[in-house]
């Protein structure tokens, strides 16, 4: 979003005095990007996050009880149905639309890089497309949620299987994992806590649901928590931090008290208090993680702004009588962005950890929404028998995801500021 207005960075950031702004093609971010991509570990981490994100979008096509296609014999002849596509929920479709929007933006971004020569124009065009695409995406999503309703899908893998066996259907093509996250084995069969088998590749949970399917569907919670919570963190943190840094003196003093208040009560305890008193659906948890985690971002923004406000270009900007909002967010913020992005990356990792901790304690997302923390809880609860096969996968997934974010944050920090000596 800020790619269009990054020019002052090169002049202003005291940490990178060596960069030459006029040289076309070697912007600060490109240098940082190169430094970042030089380490293969960073790339792997990015790859992992991308995989998780893709999974979160496309999981209905990977783990679903409905077949892609199935043929029902009727009097009029064989009719081919597409149940999986017919039963996508509004959220599934919405995520697909967002994904399409992202792809479109990426396409235009690259295209403008080739077609538009002037930097100013190019950034403007990119910004414009971004806003247009976001608008379209939001419109379509809104329409989807409003008109799509919420159909129930009474069939599941077992019922299709029965139909095929009885000859009432044929030619079914199922997704690789043919269980939805909520489908249970018949309760009377007592197929609970099963060891991995050909049927259930990671075994089953306490009421006979497929663990692998639940593992895959959990990516949605993880990505959602990471992004939404962090977005809230950024909005609150940057606003308060920018105010504190820009106005300094009394506002700063007051703001720092607020930061201290939120920092003093240990975050997890604060989150627990919030969650236990205000309920536990996933949006609530996102908001709560956002409300409790903004202090780090605010501190960094403040520190950067305190530095920036003494610089000449800011004085110049103030002198031109720009409105405050524009001054803060268009002129100062881009220069303060680097440490904020690093903190945000670590923040996402922290949010994921917190969410899994909450789910593990049984105060996380509401059932039957699958979540890695809840799966992990099921592996060792009741504690007498430890079902390691249920514990290893979700734990490892949390680890990998958190690790990736941390590696990315670390890599970004190194890339932006090779000396890495920021002390809080």
């Amino acid at each position: 979003m800020f790619s269009g207005v990054l020019k002052p960075v090169m002049i202003a950031d005291p940490a990178t005095p060596a960069l030459e702004p006029r040289t076309e093609g070697v912007s600060f971010w490109q240098v940082a990007g190169r430094a970042f991509s030089r380490r293969w570990l960073n790339l792997i981490a990015c790859g992992h996050i991308a995989c998780i994100a893709l999974l979160a979008v496309f999981v209905p096509f990977i783990a679903n009880g409905h077949p892609y296609t199935i043929v029902y014999p009727t009097k009029a002849g064989h009719v081919r149905h597409w149940p999986l596509f017919a039963t996508l929920s509004a959220l599934d479709l919405c995520l697909l639309v967002i994904f399409a929007g992202a792809v479109a933006f990426a396409f235009f971004y690259r295209r403008f890089g080739r077609t538009i020569v002037d930097r100013e124009d190019r950034s403007a065009a990119r910004c414009e497309t971004l806003f247009i695409i976001m608008g379209i995406v939001m419109l379509i999503s809104g329409a989807l949620f409003y008109f799509h309703g919420s159909p129930l899908n009474p069939n599941d893998y077992r019922s299709y299987e029965a139909m095929i066996k009885e000859g009432r259907a044929s030619g079914a093509l199922f997704p690789p994992v043919h269980w939805s996250s909520s489908e249970q084995e018949p309760l009377i069969a007592n197929r609970t806590f099963e060891f991995p088998s050909a049927d259930h590749w990671l075994g089953t949970d306490g009421i006979g649901r497929d663990a692998l399917s639940r593992l895959l569907w959990s990516t949605r919670v993880v990505m959602g928590i990471g992004f939404v919570a962090e977005a809230i963190v950024l909005i609150i943190g940057i606003t308060i931090g920018a105010m504190m840094g820009y106005f300094a003196s009394k506002v700063d003093l007051l703001g720092m008290r607020l930061v201290e208040i939120f920092e003093a009560v240990p975050t997890f305890i604060l989150i627990l208090i919030f969650v236990a008193t205000y309920g536990r659906n996933i949006f609530m948890i996102m908001v709560i993680l956002g409300l409790t985690g903004w202090t780090g971002v605010a501190r960094f923004t403040r520190a950067e702004f305190l530095k920036l406000r003494k610089l000449d270009y800011v004085h110049a900007a103030i002198a031109t009588g720009l409105p405050l909002r524009r001054l803060l967010f268009r002129h100062m913020l881009p220069n303060a962005l680097t440490p904020i992005i690093v903190t945000a990356t670590f923040g996402i990792a922290g949010a994921i950890m917190s969410e899994s901790g909450l789910s593990f304690l049984g105060v996380g997302v509401e059932p039957p929404t699958p979540s890695w923390g809840a799966l992990l809880n099921e592996a060792g609860n009741p504690a007498e028998t430890f079902r390691w096969w249920l514990a290893i996968a979700p734990g490892f997934m949390i680890f990998l995801t958190v690790f990736s974010y941390n590696i990315i944050g670390e890599g970004l920090r190194d890339a932006i500021d090779p000396r890495t000596n920021r002390v809080r």
Binding site: A264, P266, T277, F360, A379, F386, F396, F403, N421
Partner: protein, 351 residues
């Protein structure tokens, strides 16, 4: 110097007040009746008459309604609560009565004990675990950071950083479950106890047995609460060593022909420790917060477990108190480290 310290203490007051206000607001605006877990026992319910009376009484005790059941305005509730929490009482010191503040955190709805007493029981447990954990973290992270700095860019540096970050990213809930599941389970290896701080009967233990038993019980919880701390600390140590190694005095020492080891341990080390003082306070909130999961997992009756149980049973006074106490601990430790830092580093300006 003195003015600096006074200023810091003075600035703590609004923070404390703000904290009380926040905790108060969060809990009073919460939906549902304010009552302890007296109402519930595993989803079983009492008869309604008794239940409703109990709710009314709980509300009255919390100062939410007066004796006739009429609601008290929110701001009034806050001041009443604050006034109850911090009272001015007189202490008799060698015959002279001196006024001083008394902290009365109220009574737990669930445990029906003064909360001060509850915290007196629980806090030492949490603090002792955290102190042991912190000492271990420092003992491993500092040499690690030093070595990384000394071998900057070498394999060890990369490997150590990779290693500590992976440890940092390992979820406590995973390692904890696996540790309990594999190392404290009769199906696999029952090397460690799965819960508690002691075997149930310690009366006949000698001191040595008691100590060994304690350590044996604490082994897993401490393992779980330490491994995540290395990354941050050794990163800081490394950075601050590197900073100092580039300063003039280190260069001079090197020019004198001193070996790298001597420079590192005798010259740079002391100065590099300074930032770590600040961090000591910085990790306390994390440790206190982390103790919620660890103590719940290992059934250790500490502050974390108390908070968790209180939030589950909606024991409002206890939630408020634990929030306040942990907040106060954090604030005080910030204060202490700031003062230590100011004393240790003469370069700090006191404005």
């Amino acid at each position: 110097m003195l003015t600096y310290i006074l200023r810091r203490i003075f600035l703590m007051i609004p923070t404390l007040i703000g904290m009380t206000l926040m905790l108060f607001m969060v809990l009073r605006f919460a939906p549902g009746v304010a009552s302890g877990s007296a109402l519930s026992s595993g989803g079983e319910m009492q008869s309604s008459e008794a239940r409703n009376e109990e709710i009314r009484r709980a509300k009255e005790r919390l100062g939410m309604v007066d004796k006739n059941g009429a609601a008290i305005p929110m701001w009034k509730q806050y001041f009443v609560w604050l006034g109850k929490t911090v009272k001015i009482d007189t202490y008799s010191v060698s015959g002279v009565n001196i006024p001083g503040p008394v902290v009365d955190l109220g009574t737990s709805v669930k445990y029906r004990k003064p909360i001060v007493e509850l915290i007196k029981e629980r806090l030492p447990v949490t603090i002792s675990i955290n102190i042991i954990a912190t000492v271990i973290v420092y003992m491993i992270a500092i040499p690690g950071g030093m070595l990384s700095a000394a071998r900057r860019g070498a394999t060890f540096d990369h490997a150590w950083s990779f290693f500590t970050i992976s440890l940092y990213s390992l979820p406590v809930i995973w390692i904890g479950s696996m540790a309990i599941g594999f190392l404290a389970n009769r199906d696999y290896l029952a090397w460690f106890p799965a819960a508690g701080l002691h075997v149930t009967d310690t009366t006949s233990h000698t001191f040595f047995e008691y100590a060994m038993d304690y350590l044996w019980h604490l082994a897993l919880p401490i393992l779980v609460s330490t491994y995540g701390g290395f990354a941050y600390l050794s990163k800081q140590m490394r950075a601050s060593m590197l900073d100092n190694l580039e300063l003039d005095y280190a260069r001079t020492a090197r020019a004198k022909g001193l070996s790298g080891f001597v420079i590192a341990t005798r010259h740079v080390f002391r100065n590099s420790l300074l930032p770590l003082i600040t961090i000591a306070a910085g990790i306390i909130p994390g440790l206190l917060g982390g103790s919620v999961i660890i103590e719940t997992m290992f059934s250790i009756k500490g502050m974390g477990e108390l908070t968790y149980q209180a939030t589950l049973g909606r024991d409002l006074p206890v939630i408020q108190a634990t929030g306040l106490v942990s907040g106060a601990i954090v604030l005080i430790s910030y204060l202490i480290t700031d003062i230590c830092y100011a004393i240790a580093d003469p370069r700090v300006s006191y404005d």
